[in-house]
Amino acid sequence: MNDYSFTKKECDMGKDTMESVKKLFTTQSAKVDTNRGGEYYTDLYETCRKRLDELKALPVVNNKLDFQQTIMDEGLDRRDFLKWASATTAMLMLPASFTPLVAEAAQVMNRVPVIWIELSDCAGNSEALLRSDGPKIDKIVLDIISLEFHETLQAAAGHQAEKQLEEAIEHFKGKYLLFVEGAVPLGMDGQYGTIGAKAETFKDHLLRLASGAAAVIAVGSCATYGGIPAAAPNPTQSVGVMDVVSGKPIINIPACPANPANMVGVVLHYVLTGKIPELDSLLRPKFAFGYRIHDNCERRAHFDAGEYVEEWGDNGAKNNFCLYKMGCKGPMTFNNCSIVRYNEAVNWPIGVGRGCIGCSEPDFWDKYAYERPMANANIKAPTGGVEKTVDEFGLALLTAAGIGIGIHAVASAVAGKKNSEKDA
């Protein structure tokens, strides 16, 4: 006997809408256009070709580490590098013919200046990005991108570092990519977070740096939606970058921490095309956030078969069954973790039987937090069909999927009960 006894209403709801559940899991969940036709790609190829030639002619912004040399130092040969380039091309949803361009783009990444600032954060994204995560070549690529300013990595410290930042934003005005990690605390006139000798508030610092940026990239859930600091009761009145910055292209790469593969993808896309990648309504790049964790989950077959883990350490857990009833939020979470995984793809949370906590979704800390299965969660159904994509529907889909899955689990529980009745 498990803990999840369902009310009669819930069971009825399950029966009533089995049709919609079926629809939810058989229709294409996200409308990502991976084939735009020959003409589109021919044009794009030419644009990229021109862009790369222009970049090559530019002086190297920061040539501390030479890419080819770095590859050799790490003991990777050209074959590994091309393997990486073709995988990255696929991740960016480009045809295979773009592989040589992606490889070239990786080598001219040090022509695009990047400034990285930390606001109200735990530095987890910096950790993930710069030192501890990411497939090997992504990591090298990140070691050599022209990080004009990153307080942890630069040689300078203190006042010297401040001076370096001021010089960089002046020199690369209008050209740099501004990566922002951390939320923006607005409470107490911004005094919950200040930076530098003049104690500039995080908000003023961000606005000043954003004004000279080519684009602003919010990395991690704090910079995207306010993250943990914005969790109820939001003591510091923290918000995300997009709530503060306007008049600039903004790209959100949520998750806690954001996956380095996606950060590289965004920079590479910019280097390659001179444009920001296609975004959804929450400003997330579609190449990374176009699908749900659930769509490509290695335990999906167990979900479909109605085989669930019911308690930590039970037989289901030993057999890698579906974690939905333990509160896994994979079905409501748009991210590519089930494909790119973490820490050089060595594993990911579902791989260790822990379930997804939905860390790349807005308000995950309040709405999705922990192991309350969605069947028991207080989530309302949206108006409209359940198979809408996040673009058409924004947050509504998440809640729709939640209900749909709640129903599925109820249905399987009901089915299981019927079977055992028969057995008895």
Partner: protein, 427 residues
């Protein structure tokens, strides 16, 4: 003369205000201009939410927060009469993953902070390959961690009663290979000799590799005997490899959570912490002293709690942990249960304390739970012990250590030997 100095290149920012007298640092006020209110956020939430939220206090020692958090719940349940006995397998896996995190943090501290800053003091710019060395070594060791925890940073694989993963022999072999690779890195790059030779060494001057660079530089800059503080140490976290206890002129294994006091400080968003109203140092040096590590005790006789011994203890611990991790994997019995608490009670009452040794020292979580909801959550981080400005009676541990420095640069190196982290300090 007063000099304000900003410390960056840590997780967050710190501000040091130096007061010089006769050319020497006479007093330092340390403040952290940053606050998120994690403890306020935890209030009234489901008890288990702490396991997901507290790791996000810090991007570097997040795993220690997870373990402290799960231990607080387990301790509370035990006190409430729900007995939880972890299997040796679950204990070993938690010890392994925590050790990985400590080792990775020490690598980063050494190659990204301590060594470059010291070289800078001598006008030498940081060689670029330090970034790559730090990156390579820390990446590989947290990869071994992620095999069992799913990801790093911010994993949540520890659950009351054990762990959620059920590793196979293949996972263990993969982790062993990574530990071996990192051990080879340590032998080739960090100490320039085999671990066996290292253990036979009786003198710091015999050590080679990058470790010798830092000791040579410390000697050249005449900084070895600087950085002395109160020579008081404390270790709270219970582990198979560390011992709990305190040292204040003499040893005592009798320590109690009840004697810990937190105090709000003016001009800083970090609270200070005392034990029996005195400041104590936590971290690798404290662990080595309490565990009576022979080599460290010999150094201690000569140098007391100076920068030299503080740097040495952190590096020595890296090696010891790698050996320990290897033995944990070799003795892991995969047939044991991963989790023994089959049914997590829903509306329970508990008042528990979870203590863990993190990279920078003892980390303590206290949770008071009613009806399954958090009434009060208190986090005391290692950096609060070491980096606070202190009490009315005495300066904080690091502040005391910086007194007598001849320059701001020298003092900030002393500050760095404690391994600074502001996001933990304020949380």
């Amino acid at each position: 003369m007063k000099v304000k100095y900003l410390i960056e290149k840590i997780e967050g920012e710190a501000e040091l205000e130096f007061d010089f007298k006769n050319g020497l640092v006479d007093n330092v006020i340390i403040s952290f201009p940053f606050y998120r209110g994690i403890e306020e956020i935890l209030k009234d939430r489901d008890a288990m939410d702490a396991l997901v939220i507290t790791p996000r206090v810090c991007g570097i020692c997040n795993h220690a927060h997870l373990i402290a958090s799960v231990r607080a719940i387990e301790n509370g349940l035990n006190k409430a009469g729900i007995n939880i006995n972890l299997t040796q397998k679950a204990i070993s896996l938690r010890e392994f993953t925590l050790s990985c995190e400590i080792v990775h943090s020490h690598f980063k501290w050494f190659y990204l902070v301590a060594l470059p800053q010291l070289l800078n003091l001598d006008g030498i710019e940081k060689p670029d390959n330090y970034i790559l060395k730090a990156s390579w070594a820390s990446t590989n060791i947290v990869k071994a961690l992620a095999i069992f925890s799913g990801q790093w940073p911010h994993a949540s694989y520890a659950v009351p009663g054990g762990v959620s993963c059920d590793p196979t022999y293949e996972d263990i072999i993969q982790a062993e290979a990574l530990v071996d690779e990192v051990t080879r890195f340590v032998e080739n790059e960090l100490i320039g000799m085999s671990i066996d030779e290292y253990h036979k060494t009786k003198e710091i001057s015999n050590i080679k590799g990058d470790m010798s660079t830092i000791f040579d530089m410390m000697s050249k800059k005449n900084i070895e005997e600087k950085g002395k503080s109160y020579d008081r140490f404390i270790v709270f976290g219970e582990h198979q490899i560390f011992q709990t206890g305190q040292y204040n002129k003499k040893y005592s294994n009798d320590i109690s959570f009840a004697h810990i006091k937190e105090q709000i400080q003016h001009n800083s968003k970090a609270k200070s912490v005392t034990y029996k109203d005195m400041c104590y140092e936590v971290g690798p040096l404290a662990r080595a002293i309490i565990a009576k590590n022979d080599f460290v005790l010999n150094l201690h006789n000569k140098y007391k709690d100076s920068t030299l011994i503080r740097v040495y203890a952190r590096l020595d611990e890296t090696l010891r942990l790698l050996m320990y991790m290897k033995s944990l994997l070799a003795n892991l019995n995969v047939k044991e249960l991963s989790c023994t608490l089959a049914k997590m009670p829903k509306a329970f009452e508990a008042n528990g304390v979870g203590m863990v040794e993190a990279a920078r020292g003892s980390l303590i979580h206290q949770s008071i739970i009613k009806d399954g909801k958090i009434q009060k959550y208190n986090i005391i981080t290692p950096t609060q012990w070491n980096l606070s400005s202190g009490t009315q009676k005495e300066a904080g541990v690091a502040a005391q250590a910086m007194k007598g420095s001849i320059s701001v640069e020298e003092a900030t190196f002393v500050f760095r030997t404690f391994d600074v982290c502001s996001v933990c300090t304020t949380h």
